[in-house]
Amino acid sequence: MSQPEDRPKPLAKLRDDYVISSASLPVPVGSRGEAWKVFQESSNSIPDLFALTGTSVGCYRIDAIETTRKLANSGLFAPLDWGVVDWPGKEQRVALIFPKLPGTPLAQKRRYSDQDIVGTILPPMVAMLRAFAEAGFAHGGLGPATIYAGSSGELTAGECISAPPSALQPAWLQTIERGMASPFGRGAAQIEDDIYAVGATLASLSLGSLSIVELPDAEVIALKIERGSAGAITGRQQLSGGLGELIRGMLDDDPEQRWSLHTIQHWIAGRRTIGHQAWARQKPSRGLVVNGTEYFDVRSLAEAFSKYPADAMKLIANDELIKWVKRTLKDPALVSRIVNAVNMPILKSRSSTEALLIARITIAMHPAGPIRYLGLSVMPSGIGTQLQKAMAAGESPQSLAEVISCQLPKYWFNLQSALANDNLTQMKKLDQAKIYLDKAGSGLGLERCLYELAPSSPLLAQELTSKFIFESHALLQGLEALSERNDKPAFPLSRHVAAFLLARDTQNTRAFGRFIAARDPAEVALGSLHGLAGLQTRFGPEKLPGLARWLEVAVQPYIARFHNRDTREILRTDLQKAAGTGNLQAMLNLVENAAMMHRDKDGFFQATLEYERLEFQAKGLRDQLTPGALLHSEAGKDVGTIVAGILSTAIAAGILLLQWKGA
């Protein structure tokens, strides 16, 4: 342990305890981001901690952190803590705090004897894999450089949180199918993938140096297809009899034939009679030429079809493909799949028709392989992380959207010989994603697909890129900070934020129901207030004055729906007061007042009736004033008679009075 005087300059702090220093460290193999020395505030001496930090472009397996912690005692290098830290430059980063690396990578020792492998490496590895399998977890990044041997010989698998499963794993440690997919599109790993990686690792440890390690990924895959994984990895070197049997079993390219943990344990226990002979496929007499290269295997042909679609279309159009499969491969099931793929109706533009046709045919040719569409190569369970990577890096997610909307994953699942429970769940998720994609409303679309398919994705809203928001309650703080900025958008809930909330905060879905269906900005504003007020009530903080003021402006269209001017004025004044307190629920209670809305509607109806009645009255009176109307002529004559009567009476009375006086 170092002394406190040696402490380097701090960069960031996690939970007032872990201080990430400016002393950088080399990033361990199999990890992503930047590594820094860490010291604890509460400790006088500096423990050998380190942090892995990264930006929003990184695809962290946040959903696996808890599981890895539980597996820490079973030989998995798990983070001590994690969180989002404020980083110099007014941005945030994810920080994973790890203890000291648990030893040296197995790869550091050039060669292990069979006794070492069978006696000291294999049993703890199998125990570790057993613990993984029991926890429903797979590492997805095992290899000689990511498995550490401690001072007392104990083995620990390196961390697997800083990148998606298999994203950083070399192709030679992966099955052919996963190796064909793009690094971020390999999807969830299975325990069978870890068994394969351990098999390849054991081969490497046993043989010392492997020529395949130096080859580019594409050549590794081609070699594995040609010779089988075991043959490709060992090359011309010979494994000893017993160990060779084990490694060939673990590296079998057929997942159903690949040795299970149970079989391996039997083998360790000395029951080596369940021998397995991996056999290379017989090379057909004639291949199919694509772009000048002759392909003999449908798996490599599928890969070539996706790379050279023009050549592929020619072979499909003149039935060369089907003829070759029928005559050379003699696989009726494969022929049937390809014929069905060719004959399926496609209702799209010509260019996407070809891409879709090729995608279906490549799936039909190699059902276990990735979905290949317009340069994409992705496993169905990897669509989420691939989408997250594309959107975080600002790349176009159009092809991924088309993969979902054309239901290629559904086609892929339909062609699998057996579906695991994970696959069924994923299939349902992707079906639902298509429904989201078909709807244009806020909170739906591709953004919703992202947050549903990539449960570990942080919020990728443009306006909040400097913030790292993984959970819905952290959103309020992010929006509060954003509300202080002059360049904030007019509306607090962008499409990304709405989709994130709907996907992450399932308790809020009902409250957001109105929001999903809304076309009217007033309804959207009320829905936003609903969602955010719900979050504040459940998670706090009590006061969000900035966000409240922002929402106060945003809900003005809803207040404008009240017909009565006085009601609007009262509501605006009260809302302003409530916004001043920063309590969103109080604002919601004011705005969403059913009794007030009813009174307003009723009053408005009465007012329209009164207005109509007055209009009729005014029309009648105006008609009386028209020049042609005989207005009051009879009354005028009568008045004239009365005037004459009064006048004549007065005159007569006057005359009689004068006469009487004169007399």
Binding site: H563, N564, R565, D566, G603, F604, A607, T608, L609, E610, Y611, E612, L614, E615, Q617, A618, L621, R622, Q624, L625, L631, H632, S633, E634, A635, G636, K637, D638, V639, G640, T641, V643, A644, G645, L647, S648, T649, I651, A652, I655, L656, Q659
Partner: protein
Amino acid sequence: MSARAAPVPRRKSRLRAVHLVSLTLMLVFSVMFWPTAVVLAVGMLPAAAAYVFDQDSKRATTMTVALMNASGTLPFIIELWTKGQTLDHAMALVREPVTWLVMYGAAGIGWLICFIVPHAVQLVLAQRTRMQITDIENRQAELRQVWGEDVRQRTASP
């Protein structure tokens, strides 16, 4: 129909009877007060003319002219009765231009009333109607101000 039509001839016949009685009374009056009848016959000529020209069922013009005409004739009748009701006195009065001026001037005032008063009444009532319209418009403006322009939705033309 027939039950309703029956009163009309009865009313006409009653009117005719009233006219007959009136004429008889006037004849008796003329015979009994011959000089007065002469002054009245000359002095009330404008009223008679009004009766002839007045087509109105209520005979309001006739009444107006007759009342004023009568008030113009009344002083001379009184004078005739006070000085002695003889034909000479009656003729002397009739021969005086002032008599004619007063009696016919009064009738003229009656005609003036007939022309002026209905117009004046019309002006007053029109003004009152305008004030009512203004009141209505003010109330409508108030409704629009309180409830917004949408309050016109039931009356606005499509």
